[in-house]
């Protein structure tokens, strides 16, 4: 198989001392950020991104993806030992994980969580290895109308399928798209929405916004809630690991079901949270002993963790193959690609083979090394949580400022970051979702360019978006998803009134 050969090539790119060392550094940093209260996957990656600015793209992405793996593993530690979900998708893990810790079975719960995250990610990485090249080469035939249709599909599915109030999703998305338009217009060279400010000329940088929206706002929220950290301690012995692993085959159906749900929902945007809950609920529904869920059942840890990580990982598939991120973290990695001078999209597989396959190979390696590392160092990282927050908070603020400044060497960006921090804090409190804003900010320019290029090509005829079967069906699907809440209500009413 061609994919296998390319994967081996990817491993050969990876196997240098420098890259392996960076991987290890990334994993440790990632677990560290994952364990810190309030920080998690996307925040950690955003804050640590500046470390990679001067590296070559392959080393940089390997380190970043390892930070991400580490953060995912670290998140499980806080959910189980401290009952604090680091991320929304770890919420379902606390249902059974924390009761297990209370019963003195923390080591078992942690081993279960790490192992199932490993399995979930592995399934998703296999999917990426064998599907992504095909999708990318298919997408090479895309013209501007097709790309615009796919962007439209991404935006519409957020509005139609998101769980937040529709107008709030719409506000967040429109705001993101508008912010991405600030600065010089790429087609005509005209200035837009700069109001005569020289600093706004450069536009609103995506990463600056992300560091503010996620990093600074989390510090404000954590301070406000004043988390009282009282956790259980855990040391994982080989005996416990062996015990959990021996039980694994009994839960093959749960693991498989959760992996499939995760991969499916991960490819559609914003899926990880839904995936973890769905994985948990389905495991409960199919179980013979429903009552024992929520009281410390190991299956209740397997199901959501597998689904969440399968989904988090498969979110990278559309990012690599189409240049469309499936999650917040994928969006930040995409922002990284642009900083390193790579153009995300299907051409990446042709022009930067070593980069793409190095990344995919690092997913395998990072996952395995991460699992071993996290199993052996849990007590160490759990101790991080006992460091007073008053010491950690200012350090995170400094790291955020370094990150924001380093992107364009502009002091203005640090103020912008603080502004976005306040916006993020307020938005989170009044339930305006931040993910659509992030996605819109990173895709906005390219969506607009695709639209305008299509319009130039068709001399302003909107029918270009239905000009062939492919683009027509994607556009139609996008519109169906956008109006899905309305449509499903109509269907229900039709079913309610017998014909």
């Amino acid at each position: 198989m061609e994919a296998l050969g390319l994967l081996l090539y990817g491993f050969s790119v990876l196997l240098t001392w420098k890259t392996l060392a960076l991987m290890l550094v990334g994993l440790v940093l990632g677990i560290f950020v994952g364990v810190l209260p309030g920080l998690g996957g996307p925040n950690g990656v955003a804050i640590l991104l500046p470390l990679t600015f001067t590296m070559d793209p392959t080393s940089a992405i390997v380190m970043l993806s390892c930070i991400y793996w580490g953060a995912l593993f670290g998140g499980a530690i806080t959910s189980i030992l401290f009952n604090i979900p680091g991320e929304a998708w770890s919420v379902a893990t606390t249902f059974d994980g924390y009761p297990m810790a209370q019963q003195g079975r923390a080591a078992e719960a942690l081993t279960a969580a790490f192992t199932s995250s490993f399995i979930g990610s592995l399934v998703a990485v296999l999917l990426i290895t064998f599907l992504a090249p095909g999708i990318a080469s298919f997408a090479l035939q895309f013209g501007p109308p097709e790309f615009f249709a796919v962007y439209l599909l991404t935006f519409c599915s957020f509005v139609g399928l998101g769980r937040e109030a529709k107008h709030k999703t719409l506000i967040s998305m429109a705001l993101g798209l508008l912010l991405s338009g600030v600065g010089m217009d790429t087609v005509s060279g005209q200035l837009r929405m700069t109001f005569g400010s020289a600093d706004l000329l450069r536009g609103v940088n995506f990463l600056v916004a992300v560091i503010g929206l996620f990093g600074i706002s989390e510090i404000l929220l954590t301070m406000e809630e004043r988390l009282a950290l009282r956790g259980h301690s855990a040391r994982i012995s080989l005996r416990v690991v062996w015990k959990v692993w021996r039980e694994l085959p009994r839960y093959w159906a749960t693991l498989l079901r959760s992996s499939i749900i995760g991969c499916w929902l991960g490819i559609t945007p914003g899926g990880a949270i839904a995936a973890s809950f769905m994985g948990y609920n389905l495991a409960k529904r199919f179980s013979k002993d429903k009552e024992s869920f929520g009281k410390g059942r190991i299956e209740g840890v397997f199901a959501p963790e597998t689904a969440a990580h399968a989904s988090g990982t498969s979110a990278l598939l559309p990012m690599l193959a189409l240049g469309i991120p499936g999650s917040g973290t994928a969006a930040i990695l995409l922002g990284g690609l642009m900083v390193w001078g790579l153009n995300p999209g299907p051409l990446l597989f042709v022009e930067h083979k070593e980069f793409v396959w190095g990344l995919i190979a690092s997913m395998y390696l990072g996952n395995v090394v991460g699992l071993v590392l996290v199993l052996s160092t849990v007590p160490l990282f759990a101790a991080v949580l006992r460091v007073p927050f008053a010491a950690i908070a200012p350090m995170i603020v400094v790291s955020c400022a370094i990150g924001a400044y380093a992107i364009q060497n502009a002091v203005f960006d640090i103020w912008l970051m603080v502004g976005f921090g306040v916006v993020g804090y307020v938005f989170k409190k009044i339930d305006i979702p931040l993910a659509p804003l992030t996605l819109a900010l990173v895709l906005g320019n390219r969506a607009e360019d695709a639209f305008r290029l299509s319009m130039i090509g068709s001399a302003g005829d909107l029918r270009v978006f239905w000009s062939n079967g492919l683009v027509g069906s994607v556009t139609t699907l996008a519109l169906v998803l956008l109006f899905w809440p309305l449509l499903s209500r109509v269907f229900e009413r039709m079913r309610a009134t017998p014909a």
Binding site: A174, L175, L178, S188, Q190, L191, V398, A401, K429, R452
Partner: protein, 168 residues
């Protein structure tokens, strides 16, 4: 949590903040719509003008904000959830104001000195941690940042008089 402490009375309610935010967004939408209308929001010979896309986006933003406002207006006056209590808001300011001061100080003193002051000050006065621990932690952290970014990764940060003294 903040339920049974002094100062837990609400500072403002969820819906008040939401209303203010929606009004601000509406104003922003109007401003951006005007600016893009001025740039040109119609069709040229070669397709849409520069202001076309953002103009309609600001209309969407405005409409969604207006919808939210109207929904708030007609909503039932159920017991309103608190946006933030006084005590909690004080804690938010405890981290927000030092952050602002840090951003100001950084422009004159350079990032590393400002970071030392922020970490040491925050640990000492907000965290009530012993002075020597605070100063030591802050020094080690700032030095570590300097070594990581300036020396190992070659990322240049704003510098001030102290660095100039050492000829950096």
């Amino acid at each position: 949590m903040s339920q049974n402490e002094a100062g837990s009375e609400p500072l403002c309610s969820q819906s008040t903040v939401e209303r203010v935010v929606l009004l601000l967004l509406l104003a922003l939408a109007a401003l951006l719509a005007y600016d893009n209308w001025r740039t040109g929001m119609s069709w040229d010979t070669d397709g849409p003008q520069a202001g076309y896309f953002p103009f309609y986006l600001s209309l969407i933003l405005g409409a969604a904000s207006l919808f939210g406002l109207i929904r708030q207006w007609v909503a039932h006056r159920a017991p309103e959830p608190t946006f933030v209590s006084r005590a909690a808001f004080r804690r938010v300011l405890q981290v927000f104001i030092p952050t602002l001061l840090f951003c100001f100080a950084m422009q004159w003193l350079g990032l590393y000195v400002a970071s030392f002051l922020l970490v040491a000050g925050f640990m000492r006065w907000v965290g009530h941690i012993a002075t020597w621990k605070s100063v030591l932690t802050a020094f080690v952290f700032s030095a570590l940042m300097f070594v990581t970014f300036q020396i190992a990764f070659d990322v240049i940060m704003p510098k001030g008089p102290l660095e100039a003294l050492f000829g950096l």
